[in-house]
Amino acid sequence: RDYQQADIKSLSGWKQWKSASSKSLKKCLNEVKELSSYLELWRHDIHSIEGKFGTGIQSYFSLLFVTLPSIISKYGVFNSSFAKIPPKNIEPHCTVYNPSGNKGLVYFYTYLKDLLSGTGFLEVTSLFYGYYTIDDAWLSILRYNLPLAYLLATFAYLALSLLWIIKRSVEGFKQNLVHDEDQFQSYCNKVFAGWDFCITDPNAARLKHRSLQYELQTDLEEERMKQKIADRTMKEKLRIYSLRIFINIIVIAVLSGCFYSIYRATVFSQENSNVSIRDDIRMDSANLLVQYLPSIVITLANFVAPQIFSFLIRFEDYSPAFEIRLTLMRCVFVRLANIGVLLFSLWSQISYCATVECKACGYNYELYPCWESQVGQEMYKLMIFDFIIIFAVTLFLDFPRKLLVTHCSCKLVQWCGLQEFGISDNVLEIIYGQTICWIGTFFSPLLPAIATIKYFIIFYIKKISLIHTCKPASRPVRASSSNFFFLVVLLIGLVLAFIPLGISIAQIPSSKACGPFRNFNTSWAVVPATVLGFPAGLQQVLYGITSEAFAVPFFMVICLVMVYFIALAGAHKRVVEQLREQLVMESRDKQFLIRKIAEAQRH
């Protein structure tokens, strides 16, 4: 304090005022931060989970929190005066579309069925693409171009998601890039930062001790195994590689089986789902089952394939860390590719054109008068089914298991034990659900809102399930690298979601019978049409930006900048190496001098 006051006296009056005001500003900011941390959603819940189960599981719940900003949903609906735009001259047979909303008296269960399958009364709501019209809306004097707004809202939502994920993963990326060659799954991190000081529960502490012991022993064993691998002979290597190739072939076969079954299930479901018969409850239930068939098959594939992979990988004789990563990558691939296959089979059905009239429309107008709504319904069904499965598994699997383990002392039951909270499985579930939301947002604009509600409820379901039915994992997952890895996979999901969206918007002709893009060939065509309406100067600028004369030099400049940064990073790493060598030499010099002094003292 004395030093500080002495410092202050030596400053001039202006600087004194500056330092005093910056101190009070800092104090103010601190208090604002403290207040706003109370408002942060679920902060208390996440802290208590952290205290009981450690930081790995806390990273899962934080990921759940990250996916929540899918709150943006589009309401391009204005009930004010609409300017009617006459539809362009198109083939009349393409424009026939009669969504069968419920007319007259219907049984109550019809509403339930419609809620589950997105047909009937839901099809004519703003939930699906078919509700939106090509008409523009008037806001006093401004004209609100609905088709353009629809398209741009989709792009804005995806761009915001991309920015959000990149912002969250940039911190983890920095760490990983710099420390990659240090392989920091290493001992110092585990020993010096191993104990989680947040743990307050003695039981959790006991488990943490055990998991630390297990982790250290595993790492030491892995190091001994690496030594063993390095000492392998030629014959052994040959045997192992051929075994690995064989197992990869099996993996590919399993994947092809999954994809083929999904394709067949989708085709079957599209051909046989009959919405018109609404009288017989048995036929309706069978119909509902047929409609949900793709979702059921996908969920089964997502459940069975990872089990097969984790069984097979034991024979491939990799190091334990690599095993986990490879299994995780395979599971991620299965989940995302399943959605891709579903979309591909839908697309093949939609664009299958045999007759001349069909070719005039560009898509199969008989079965799919409003194909975007159909795709939206499939995504909607996937999402609802995903939610039902999570809820049902928690209710009918986790809780009975806990009851069984606590009350039945049969040896088999006790050996099975309580459920462990499988972090990777749950994370893959979130990523799967979020990818469906991203893909479906163009076809079903309110899907992000449904996803928000779904994740909100899932947070509490998972939290209750974790606290009451799970025991902490014996193999711990490190929070830092896991966070980054999960965000990278989420990013892959987002990038993969762009592909079907891009194809639907730019390639497949939009429905002529419904939706805001009736007048255009494809959904994307509204953008060039709007650009044509801009003033001439702005048009020139836009054309200039999108021409090759601009794009190629721009691309080259970006490549140069990237090369520069990579070279800079390499140079820094070399400097760090040199400094370390210098430090070692300094200590040797010091020891040499001390020896010399000791000798000189003796004489």
């Binding site: 304090r1 030093y3 500080q4 800092k26 104090k27 601190n30 403290e34 802290h47 930081t55 760490q175 420390h179 240090d182 920091f184 290493s186 001992y187 110092c188 991190n189 020993v191 010096f192 930062a193 191993g194 104990w195 989680d196 000081f197 947040c198 743990i199 307050t200 529960d201 003695p202 959790a204 502490a205 006991r206 001790h209 055990r210 630390l212 012991q213 250290l216 022993q217 030491l220 190091e223 490190r478 929070a479 830092s480 690298s481 370390r580 430090l583 070692v584 300094e586 200590s587 010091k590």
Partner: protein
Amino acid sequence: MAVRQCRAARKRAAWGVRAARCPGRRCASTSAYKRFSELLPKEERNNACSARVPKSQILTLPELRANPFQHRICHVFSTSDDGDDSMSFEDFLDMLSVFSDSATSDIKSHYAFRIFDFDDDGTLDRKNLEQLVNCLTGQGEESRLSTAEMEQLIQNILEESDIDKDGTINLSEFQHVVSRSPDFASSFKIVL
């Protein structure tokens, strides 16, 4: 009146050199005062600012109860002259501010080094590392690593962190290693 005096003392403390290094102190003060006074017997609560809480009471805090380094933490933060590791309110605030979210990595690594240095000689030698690992894996006989594993582990740790190859880890080497550790900031914290 005692509370007002205490607030004044805290404000003075807040401008002190130690707190100037550690911005977390101001936020932690009010709830910390409540928790600290709960540890005292009823008759001493009014005078909480100048009372000292014995070590056995401190160890009843839930945040420290399950911590294998509880004795070392009390020893490092205690400013008691008797060597009985009792803590005053200032020591308690010090401890909370070092473990808070807003303490810098420098401060945390400095105190972590002191906590891990079991014999207080200013370096972490093989024996200290062995005691550290035993704290981490648990107290029972069957939870310890075997001698060969311990040897391999300590060898690896020294390879990674001992830059001047003298067989011990000094403060700067420790801080260097910890600064590269991604989990240190998130695990070395206590939230009231």
